[in-house]
């Protein structure tokens, strides 16, 4: 058993956060965390990369400060072809990312929670190319329950 701060070290020591060490692929949820930047108009922006031979998204957890539109730059620095399937209101967004390519995606996400994104080709998702986009924030005031504040976990 580990405490939270020791977790990163132990994942590394055991080889759970890389390709083909303890496991065949990377255990999901062991990647880096990044924040989207926000323009003065509220529109957000971030870059997500696939680094060589890592088979993971960098960052694998991207945090948006609130719901809305985000412009992503997607960079494949790997020497293999991958793709991206991204959550967005209206339809999911899809893009091929041949080796050493860069592309763009514009997403609209409307509220708090986390949303998966992945590379659904081969078994990229199982090897580690599964990430999460986390949207911060609350329901708008007019949608909340009329009641006193309640205890939260």
């Amino acid at each position: 058993m580990t405490t939270a701060p020791e977790r990163t070290d132990l994942l590394k020591e055991l080889g759970l956060d890389v390709q083909n060490h303890a496991t065949l692929g990377r255990v999901l949820g062991t990647g880096k965390i990044g924040r989207a930047s926000e323009g003065s108009d509220g529109r957000m922006q971030a870059t997500i990369r696939i680094n060589e031979d890592e088979l993971m998204w960098d960052p694998s957890i991207l945090v948006m400060p609130h719901g809305g539109d985000i412009d992503l730059e997607l960079v494949n620095d790997d020497k293999n072809t991958h793709c991206a399937l991204l959550p967005s209101n209206g339809d999911r967004k899809f893009i091929w990312l041949v080796n050493h390519s860069r592309g763009r995606a514009t997403l609209n996400l409307d509220g708090p929670g986390y949303y998966w994104y992945s590379s659904p080709t081969g078994n990229d998702e199982g090897r580690g190319l599964t990430g999460a986009i986390v949207v911060l924030g609350d329901a708008p005031p007019e949608a909340r329950l009329d009641r006193p504040d309640q205890p939260q976990p």
Binding site: L85, S88, D91, R102, T130, R147, Q150
Partner: protein, 568 residues
């Protein structure tokens, strides 16, 4: 090192639907819903080639006068086409989805919702996808009863549906593009949405889900053109409001009281009342923290359609300790000139109520095993078995999925019989007190539903509560029935069989194995004079609640559409 110029330009990500094999330019549906008005929905039964609204008509009968398919020829019914809704990539709540929609059909175009924010427009004759819309639903949204959606509504050029993260969305019905979206629930408080919206006049009516998370259930109305909020009706009164005397005077039990309206209402234009079933009180099984009757939980509630005010109510299970939501449909019918409604409750009793004033007409049991308590003909309720003592297991019938779950009975004005899908299953609940925390399930017991010794049936009742026939099944029946003018009752089984029964005798006339269990709402329509029967098939959802013995069954995600063979 490389410079950015070295990269291949991968361009801009596209809508995944562009890669679904559709013909370019084929993604526009004819404007069939442009002329769908309140007047037309009021008279939905006059256009039986369409299925215009969730129950087929405001009365909730789930009856179609179509009679091309009848007791004589139904044995020749064959699949006309199949729509496969299977999907790529991870979905929200992958382990719990189920296909529960009621397909809506307007002049040859079908509008169909799936789980996880999906909605499609299909050619109702061929099954070819015209457009699709996918709302992005958070993976971590609180879903008490599975990742499910029960359907959409159409009117005035738009199609309306809700998403699990408590959005009401209006799309342009020709191209599936969003016109407006409103948030009407708080996902951080454990609220979600699963209901099929109902169009009444210029309003879209929706209810909230999340009763197992200690929320305060409500019904909301929005202007269908602008999306502007019209009214909200809470089903748990605040201190001082009528009914608040049925909750503890001190404390906050009322604020966590449940009573969600997560199934579509029926509507009577003459009384101008919406007939709403409300969900269980929270916590489900620990009644000591909410002494009293707990209005308006587990009730049939009549709500004025224009003001959102409660006009009358009848509570089926006061101070519920068994998770007996009364969310089920209230079927409007007439008998001896009296305006009535029929309601098959989860608690095992069939209620007939005068829908003008809420006066109880009759109460009769519709399932064999009822041990939780007894309801007399005049509605008096005596509890007998319930999880009273901390840590002490209590077994009772019916279990928390009820003698009938949310899935709907139907009523044929031709035979004057109700056709109810019956679940005869018990459960053991062991009370475990817990503190309330927002967004955490608030049950107050450990519950184990029986995985053996169960039964089911399609049972036919008349308006006096007299059983007329029963078609027995080894397993509970967990899908809505459909009654037709061809004197047929369609009923899907948990094991995948789709059945046609003789509406007068209950005789099994036709059966087709769909490959996955039924937990949805079949509908019927015609295109170019040919009658079709459409049924979404996809086992899942809250299976541990209504049939834990089938938790390992394949999920499936197909819409089957049947018709008689075309003449050679």
């Amino acid at each position: 090192m490389t410079t950015s110029e070295d990269y291949v330009d991968a361009g801009e990500a596209i809508d995944q639907g562009n890669l679904s094999g559709k013909m370019p330019g084929g993604e526009i549906a004819p404007p069939v819903t442009a002329a769908v008005t309140y007047e037309r929905i009021l008279n939905a039964r006059n256009e039986p080639h369409n299925w215009l609204t969730y129950y087929g008509a405001y009365d909730g009968q789930r009856y179609s006068p179509l009679d091309q398919i009848n007791t004589e020829n139904v044995k020749r019914l064959v699949p006309a086409w199949v729509f496969q809704a299977g999907t790529t990539g991870l979905i929200a709540g992958a382990s719990t989805y189920s296909f529960e929609a009621a397909p809506i059909v307007v002049d040859g175009i079908m509008f169909l919702t799936g789980w996880d924010g999906w909605i499609w427009a299909l050619d109702a004759k061929t099954g070819v996808e015209i457009w699709r819309y996918k709302h992005a639903v958070p993976f971590d949204v609180s879903l008490c009863c599975g990742n499910v959606n029960r359907g959409c509504a159409v009117a005035q050029g738009k199609v309306f549906f809700v998403t699990a993260n408590a959005r009401l969305i209006a799309l342009d019905a020709t191209n599936g593009k969003m016109v407006w979206a409103k948030t009407y629930g708080d996902v951080r408080a454990g609220e979600s949405a699963t209901v099929a919206p109902l169009i009444v006049k210029n309003m879209v009516i929706v209810g909230s889900s999340g009763g197992e998370f200690g929320v305060r259930g409500h019904l909301d109305a929005f202007d269908l053109e602008s999306g502007e909020h019209q009214w909200r009706c809470y089903m748990v009164p605040k201190p001082g409001e009528p009914g608040s005397e049925t909750w503890p005077a001190d404390g906050e039990a009322w604020a966590r009281g449940g009573a969600n309206c997560w199934v579509t209402s029926t509507f009577d234009p003459e009384t101008n009342l919406l007939y709403v079933g409300t969900g269980n009180p929270a916590p489900d099984f620990d009644g000591e923290v909410r002494e009293g009757d707990n209005l308006y939980t587990d009730s049939i509630v009549a709500v004025d359609a224009d003001s959102g005010q409660i006009r009358w109510h009848h509570q089926c299970t006061p101070h519920d300790l068994w998770d007996y939501d009364s969310i089920a449909e209230n079927i409007l019918f007439e008998k001896d000139g009296r305006k009535l409604l029929g309601h098959f409750d989860k608690n095992g009793y069939f209620y007939v109520v005068d829908r003008t004033d809420g006066e109880l007409v009759s109460v009769t049991p519709f399932v064999d095993r009822i041990t939780w308590g007894a309801v007399t003909r005049d509605g008096r309720v005596t509890a007998k078995l319930y999880p009273e003592k901390e840590g002490e297991p209590v077994h009772f019938y019916p279990g928390p999925a009820g003698a009938k779950e949310w899935t709907h009975a139907s009523y044929s004005p031709k035979t004057e019989f109700f056709y109810v899908p019956v679940q005869d299953t018990g459960a053991t609940a062991t009370r475990r007190r817990r503190e309330f925390k927002e967004s955490i399930p608030y049950w107050g017991a450990g519950v184990q539903v029986d995985a053996e010794d169960m039964a089911g049936s399609i049972s036919a009742f008349d308006g006096n509560g007299e059983e007329k026939w029963r078609w027995r099944n080894e397993l509970p029946m967990c899908a809505s029935t459909l009654a037709t003018g061809g004197d047929l009752v369609f009923a899907g089984e948990a094991t995948g069989e789709f059945n046609a029964l003789d509406a007068r005798s209950g005789e099994l006339l036709w059966q087709f194995q769909c490959g996955s269990g039924h937990h949805s709402n079949p509908t019927t329509y015609t295109v170019e004079g040919r009658q079709y029967i459409a049924v979404p098939v996809g086992w899942g959802g809250w299976a541990e609640g209504f049939l834990p013995g089938m938790l390992g069954a394949g999920h499936g995600s197909a819409l089957f559409v049947f018709a008689l063979p075309e003449p050679a």
